[in-house]
């Protein structure tokens, strides 16, 4: 039910509750509402649920998550202890 799919904004039209955006979902495009993401801009990646873009994807946070993984991964490989430290 809460399935939401990431896509990239390629066009924006309208304003306020009628604001909408054309989204590229890996090659398939679809118009969705942009009413709850008033600050989103062309080029932003967003998460779309039930025809409405509900969140902008934070690319810096996405990158940080992979850095977190790199840290964990290094610790797992190096650690002889039975615990992963922070």
């Amino acid at each position: 039910m809460c399935l939401a799919v990431p896509g990239k904004i390629i066009e924006i039209t309208g304003a306020d509750i009628e604001k909408s955006a054309k989204i590229d979902f890996g090659g398939i495009t679809k118009w969705v509402s942009l009413a709850v993401l008033p600050d989103a801009a062309v080029g932003d990646y967003v998460i779309v649920h039930a025809g409405v873009a509900i969140s902008r994807i934070d690319e810096a946070e996405a990158k940080r998550a992979f850095e977190y993984f790199e840290r964990i991964s290094t610790e797992v490989n190096e650690s002889g202890e039975n615990e992963v430290s922070d």
Binding site: M1, V5, S33, A50, V52, I54, S55
Partner: protein, 373 residues
Amino acid sequence: MKAAKMKFLTEYRNNELVVKYLQAVIKTLRRPWTMMEICGGQTHSILKYGIDQMLPGEITLLHGPGCPVCVTPIELIDKAIALAEIPDVILCTFGDMMRVPGSGGNLLEAKAEGCDIRMVYSPLESIRVAENNLDRRVVFFGIGFETTAPTTALALIQAKKRRLANFSVLSAHVRVPPAIELILSSSENQVQAFLAAGHVCTVMGYREYIPIAEKYNVPIVVTGFEPVDIMQGIYMAIKQLERGAAAVENQYSRVVSKNGNETARKLIDEVFQVESRKWRGIGEIEGGGLAIKPEYAALDAAKIFDLPDENIEESSRCWSGKVLRGLIKPPECPSFTIDCFPEHPLGAPMVSAEGACAAYYNYANSRQGKTNA
């Protein structure tokens, strides 16, 4: 056919990353723990990618009431069918809802019998149906958690602004935090940590989970839906459990912020008010539902139409209530694959796309060499 690469999706299905997080889980784990994922989308990912099988036996994953279709009370499904049977009504709803059994049948059967029921991808599509059928009354059967509530709210606000007199909504919207509290406050509770539903928190943020984590002393990790997300969420929860911590952490930070989407929340507040709601299989949950505010009564199908109002009990052969509360897993139900199948379900979780019983039927059942036919 090779799946297309999609940014922010494909990289979170990387098997190597999943295995590395699994290794981190194994290295951190010292004692047995039980945790629950809240969203049905997560349940399906866990079963589909075999995450439950990869994990050490000390970790038990219970599947929560994270399927809004599954918890929609039978009475509301009966009301939706009664609406669809009114000659000038067009009933619009999500495809997930079509095969969920009411007391006498489902929406798909009603459609086969001639009712005008249309599956829509978005509540906003039902606005277009109303605009294109001004001589008919169009009702959107709105279901979903806080993720979906703003989309229904948006449809109601657009309809009001456009003075669309032939559109209304039957609200079956529900709220997650009261259900978590209900599970945690039960004397039968086994859950020691939660993976919170990422897309619900996209809208709501995670502030409302902080007092729950503190009150019940449980770690809550806001988690995404892809296998890397889920394994990382499990790792973060295990790390907290082993340290005796009980904080709210955010694994899904690329999409979820602490405050969520304030514009979306304003739409919810504009249109809906919190009310107690019967959850199918679980019972009345205080604050568990969202009802349409009196200011929008002219667009509230529950107010406009005279609908049946009977209290209906679930079949005793269906143990979905125990599944939804995390007390048993679907295969422990005596009816599972005996007299309950997706084609002939006793309860909603066997037929909903995100139901736990359907997940076990589709994925786990075939692992055990049983047929899915």
